[in-house]
Amino acid sequence: MTLRRGLWAIGLVALIAGGILFAIIAESPYTDDRGQLNELAPVIAWSFVGTGLWAWARRPENRTGALMVAIGFGWMLATLIVAQTPALYITGWVLYLLPYALLIHLLLAFPSGRLERRLDRVLVTGAYVPCLLLQAAQVVVFQPVDPCCGLARRENPLLITRDDGLFDALVLGQSVFSILALVALTVVLTSRFRAASETQRRALTPVLGAGVVMTVSLILTLTADLILASDDVEAIVDLIGRLAILCVPFGFLAGLARSRLSRAVAVSELVERLGARSEQRRPLRDALADALGDPSLSLAFDVGDRHVDAEGRTVALVAGAHTPVEREGRRVGAIVHDPALAEEEPAALRAAAGAVALSLENERLEAELRARIGELQRSRARMVEAEDAGRRRLERDLHDGAQQRLVALALTLRLARGKAEGALAELLDEAAAELQQATNELRELARGIHPAVLTDLGLGPAIGVLASRAAVPVEVAEVPADRLPAPVESAAYFLVAEALTNVSRYASASWAEVRIARANGSVTVQVSDDGVGGADPAIGSGLRGLADRAAALDGSFGVWSPPGGGTTVRAVLPCGS
């Protein structure tokens, strides 16, 4: 427990330093220079250090505690400006505005203690520049002579060269710079509060409230300085500012306490919400993240011996950063959260884990089902692709094998026929006719298995061939000029082939139209005729096969066939971009 020991040591140092500071203030002849309540300084410092150490011990990885402690010590250092010893007085003078810069830093970094946004880092830099650099620049060019500008006549060992004009310019620049930075800070804090959720607001209200009061009073102080308001006005404004600053550490304490309190409330709200009707229910993860105040929270589901996220990806669980969720003694998943939450709110976590067990089990089953449906869909698409590939291969084998041999045989027969006479010639003619028949049949078979024109030349020529072979006049109204993915081309081709076969067999149509259009990442294939209608996809195995094929590609398929009103077959197939 070296950290705890270190924190005790810091506390002890703060206590002693505060005591010494009291003594310095008590014997200082300068404490009334600026109408300040300097006696308040050690109290303000102790309250920052005390609350800071408490927060530091509780959440060591959160830097808020350390920042609070720094403000406390900064406050003591700044108060040294009332000291008589030149070294102490100069230290206080140079660091006079450091606590304000640290305060702005704290307000912007609350509640994590880290400056997570770029805007925050810019603003904090904008606070340190006038508070440290411009202040130090003033010190080296100014020699307090009269009771001027809040500084009593004292030696300035850091003086390089006295330049009252430059000093005035630096003070003016510092004031303007600070006012701008503070206005920006007020705007940022206000909008942050507006954007916060109900639960976050409960914790933020006291802290940001005190911060905004302090900021506004600082702006007033600086403005009063700038417009040279009377000393009474300055004194009142200064007092308000100091009291507001005294509120900040207690506001911070209240914020932490309220976040603890509100967490218990939030968990009970969560339980209530989980019982709500499904249409009012928020995603479980969001509800949990909100209730436990951890936006990084996620859910893990136990599937087999793996842990997966909502998308079915395997996730690794880190000890201390997750809380198991069990249902009826069986582990169903885990809440994956900020490790600090386990240290800080173990009871709330356990309560939440118990509350969400049933919902998480449901989501686990849904995730598993989604994963299986996805796998099924993919395997069906793979089967269709494999079937297409098989058909293409079979057609190619027929073409390269049997067809070539039959062709060679036909040519040899023709050669023989040229040299033969009489009865032999007649026999050869007969053989040639038989062979012709066989060749034609084989060619038709191969074409039915998979048309080479589709593979080699694409949909346009292939649909053209289908149209020219159809029994009724077919108008090809539209076909994409570019090649499409092979499964889409095959599906579109076989759909048109089957639909045109149906037109000539059943529709008693005088005319048909084919339209294949590609738009918005999908291809619409449509075949219409002016026939008798009344086609029923539930009866014809051909149409059902087309519906299956379209579904395997994650597409849709429909038949519109009112009696006497013609038939329209349409499929919409996804097709990349």
Partner: protein, 117 residues
């Protein structure tokens, strides 16, 4: 004078039987090629009167080879052939610059003569 013929086809059995048939019917087969690029090169060197060109070649498609063969002045006559039935895509044959299409099993000197210049 006998017409000179270049046969471009990736099936050796077809090239052999086509050569035998055409030579028997009075043509002079001056060369053979197994793919589109080889066919284009051979046509440049041999300057045949006629190229009997398979539609489905392993490298280029036959229509493309026909387009390139017939692009130059003094180009050979090109007749496309296949064991598949490509006769229905008539405009592709015409646009390729080929004189016509003959199914492989219908090949004969008489059919070629009908398509000759």
């Amino acid at each position: 004078m006998a017409l000179s013929v270049l046969i471009v086809d990736d099936h050796p059995t077809f090239r052999a039987s086509a050569r035998r048939l055409l030579e028997a019917e009075g043509y002079v087969v001056v060369g053979e090629a197994g793919d589109g690029v080889g066919g284009l090169a051979a046509a440049g060197v041999l300057a045949p009167d006629l190229v009997l060109l398979d539609v489905a070649l392993p490298d280029l498609d036959g229509f493309e080879v026909a387009r390139r063969l017939t692009a130059a002045p003094g180009a050979p006559a090109v007749v496309l052939t296949s064991s598949r039935d490509w006769s229905e895509i008539g405009d592709l044959v015409a646009r390729s610059g080929a004189r016509g299409f003959v199914s492989k099993d219908d090949l004969s000197g008489a059919v070629l003569a009908a398509l000759e210049p």
